[in-house]
Each structure stands twice: as structure tokens, then as C-alpha cells.
Symmetry: C2
Subunit: 225 residues, 2 copies
DNA sequence: GCATTTGTTTGCGTATACATTAAAGAATGC
DNA sequence: GCATTCTTTAATGTATACGCAAACAAATGC
């Protein structure tokens, strides 16, 4: 098996990507248990790479390995979402501030601008999936511009868990019009080097998002997904 | 092999603890490479549990597995320390704020008070090791009181890396008298429910600590440890 | 009937064997 | 003498085998 660059891809890496994909897509449902040997057979490889991949996914908080009970796909509760959003709020706001301080030019911010444009288009089209993808890109790029690799890694892990909750809630909630305005404000602040404002605007953006998501989860009694 | 509770401890767990200990103590020096088979022999077990432990330590950022180059103990640079302290600053300050909002009583804050007392004693005795241990405890307990499990986990990971830098710098720097005053102020703020102040005091404390550490590292040209 | 014990099964933890492949060294040609 | 290719080697990636311990079932004693 080779990847796009022609480099061979180890089975462990394949297992990692496949399992992650299966969890995020819901193919492996939250709360379900799966034997290592089952997963190995599904993926067409032996238990060893599956175990190694599972170990990594365990430290990303997507699953849990319980002796004799199989690999458990961890559900996400509203309380988990509070924790996650609190972390995202703090770390992304800092990233926004740092990005503004870095004095990036328009070229550096092109990707950010692009994802904002994509979100605008998606809202027009009422295409929630496209909006979610562009939103992911915006946050990922924002954090990248913040220049802290560890924050990037942490946010990536937390975002994986948010993605699962969002897969369920995406079609329940109203079109994220407010969100798009927030993004533009953050972009403007970064672009013109207003660090404090970038921080605060993004902070408010995330607090707002947290409130909306938690509200939906509690209203619909989605205690575990 | 059994642990304190009499429960058998898996070799993977033993490898995890041992390797972590060896890295933090410097027994496995930063920047050095080690074959899986060497480590396995050292620990008296086969490669399998060593690999599994290494995988976990890799996601904690303590080492890196590079095909054919062996397991590399990751060095920590001043830039790494900036990243780590930025994260600790944000997440611990939030924890302090939340702890203050939670309205804990004196009994709940006993451990926090104890570690402060231990730090005072350690400063009197000029026992830097004891101070460092108590300081770890203070921060760990503070974060626990914050009530966000994920922040606890992230801070634990980051703290492991700080510990390595501190092992080197602990005896270079002046006695942390200012630090102890900060801790007391944070404690007071939490104890009396002044959330905003707890946040801000802890924030300043961490920013200060960051400055001191980075200053030492750069002054002594400690670019990698 | 119920509880306790014994047997059986099943899945994991670990060792080990093997295939794979990148890196280092040797040999060859220019 | 240098570069290139071939060979070798060594370390990893993966499969597989097996013992053990936990969960479940059955059987036995009360």
C-alpha cells in the first residue's frame, strides 16, 4: 500500500486513519465495544498494528482499551463539550492574539480569507457540511498562524471530538450567520495587528459557540454521542 | 510484579513508568537514540510492551520513534518552553478561576494549603528539590480543583516536559521567594471566591515563571535539554 | 432454590519468528 | 579518486503462537 507521495504506508498508519475515520463518521458508534481481532479482520491486518493504532487513539481520547471488554468507542457528553470548548476558547484566543502580533501580510492570511469566503458561500447555499469543513479549516489555519505547535496538536485532538458532536447537531441548529461575522472580525483584527481585539473577538466567538452547542445538546437530551 | 494494591501490573505499564522515570531523571539523556531491543533488554522484557509504552510516550511528547534510527529522547529547547508555558498560563489560569467560582471550603483547599506550607518550609531550608516537588503538587491540585479533566491531562503532559528543564535550572536560579507569595495570593483569591483575581494572579505568576526560566536558558545558552 | 465452586471459554498480554526495507559499506567502473 | 550500484546488515513492522486470567456457565452441596 502506498500513499500519494508513493511512500509506503505502514499498516499501523492505515489502521490509525481508518479507525479515526470510522469513529468520526459514526461507522463505529459511540459507546460500542469491538474486539481487537474483529477490527483486525475488518481492516485486513493482524492484531498488532490495530493495537498500536488503538493505543494512539486512546491518548487522543477517541476510545478506551478495556481488558476483556474490547475497545470501547468513547461517547461524548455535554459535560465533555464544556471541557473541550473551554480549552479551545483559551488556546485559540491566544493563537489569534499571537497571529495578530506576528504582523502577517495578506498573502499569509490568504488561506484564512479563503475559508471565510467558503463559509459565506456555504451559508448562501445552506450547505451545512461545506460550512463545517470550511469552519474546521478556519480554526486550524488560525491556530497554525498562532505559531505554537503544541497548541496546534491539542486543538486538533479536541476538534476531533467536537466533530463527532457536530455531526449530530449540524442539521438541528440554525444556519451559523453570526459565526461568519465573528470570523470576519477576527480576521480584520489579525490583519491590522490589533492583538487584544483578535483575542477578545475570538474568545467571544468560542463562548457563543459553546453556548449554542450545549443549548442544543441539553434541549434535545443528547447526553451521549 | 504487583503494585501497591496487589494488582498485577502489566509489562507495558511497567515499561511506561520506567521509561518515563528514566527520561525525567536524565538516565536516558535528551537527544540520545536507543534501539527498541536495547530498551527491552534493559527492562527485562520483550520488544512488544516496550513498543507500546514508547507509542504512549511519543504522544506525550517525551520521545519520537524514527524508523531505523531508534527511539529518540526529545530535547527541549527554549522555544519549546515558551510554547509550554503559554499553554500552562492559559489553562491553569482558567482552572484557578473555575476553582474560585466553585466556592470550595477550607477542607477542600487543604491540599493546596499544605503544598504552600511545604514550599515555605523548603525555601527556609533552601531545599530546592523539596520546593519543586511541592510546587508540582500545588499546580496539580489547583488544576484538579478547576474541575476540567482534560485540562488536568494536558497540564500533566506539559509539566513532564517542564520538569526536565527544571532539573537542570533548579540549582542555577535564585530561591523562588516571589513564587511563594504568588501562590498564597492565588490561594486567598480562590478561598474567598474572587474568580477574576484568581485568574489574573495566577496568570501573572506563570508569565513571571516563564520569563525567569527563559532568561536562565538563554543566559546559559541552554538550547537543548 | 440458592450460593458457592469448578470447569470452560474467550480475549488479551507478551514473546517470538519472520518479512521488509533503509542505511551503510564494499565493489566496480569510469 | 570519485561516483554509482550492489550487497550486506541491522532494525523495524507485522504476523502468529501461546499462556493466563477474567467472565460466563454448569454443577454440586447445602
Amino acid at each position: 500500500m502506498k500513499d500519494k507521495d508513493g511512500k509506503p504506508l505502514s499498516n499501523t498508519q492505515r489502521a490509525l486513519r481508518e479507525l479515526r475515520r470510522m469513529i468520526l463518521s459514526g461507522e463505529l458508534a459511540a459507546g460500542t465495544d469491538h474486539l481487537e481481532s474483529e477490527l483486525a479482520e475488518t481492516l485486513g491486518m493482524s492484531r498488532t498494528p490495530v493495537r498500536e493504532a488503538a493505543l494512539m487513539l486512546e491518548s487522543r481520547g477517541l476510545l478506551e482499551m478495556r481488558p476483556r471488554k474490547g475497545v470501547r468507542i468513547l461517547p461524548v457528553s455535554p459535560e465533555d463539550m464544556r471541557e473541550i470548548y473551554d480549552i479551545l476558547t483559551e488556546l485559540e484566543s491566544l493563537a489569534a492574539q499571537r497571529a495578530a502580533e506576528a504582523g502577517y501580510g495578506d498573502a499569509d492570511l490568504a488561506q484564512l480569507a479563503l475559508s471565510i469566503a467558503q463559509m459565506d458561500q456555504a451559508v448562501k447555499d445552506e450547505d451545512r457540511e461545506a460550512w463545517a469543513d470550511a469552519d474546521d479549516l478556519f480554526h486550524q489555519e488560525l491556530v497554525r498562524l498562532g505559531g505554537n505547535k503544541r497548541i496546534e496538536a491539542i486543538v486538533a485532538v479536541m476538534s476531533d471530538q467536537v466533530r463527532r458532536a457536530r455531526a449530530t447537531t449540524l442539521f438541528i441548529r440554525p444556519l451559523p450567520v453570526q459565526s461568519n461575522e465573528d470570523h470576519r472580525a477576527v480576521y480584520q483584527a489579525i490583519s491590522s495587528g490589533r492583538a487584544e481585539e483578535a483575542h477578545e473577538r475570538h474568545r467571544q466567538h468560542r463562548l457563543q459557540a459553546k453556548g449554542v452547542l450545549i443549548g442544543i445538546l441539553e434541549k434535545h437530551r443528547l447526553n451521549s454521542l
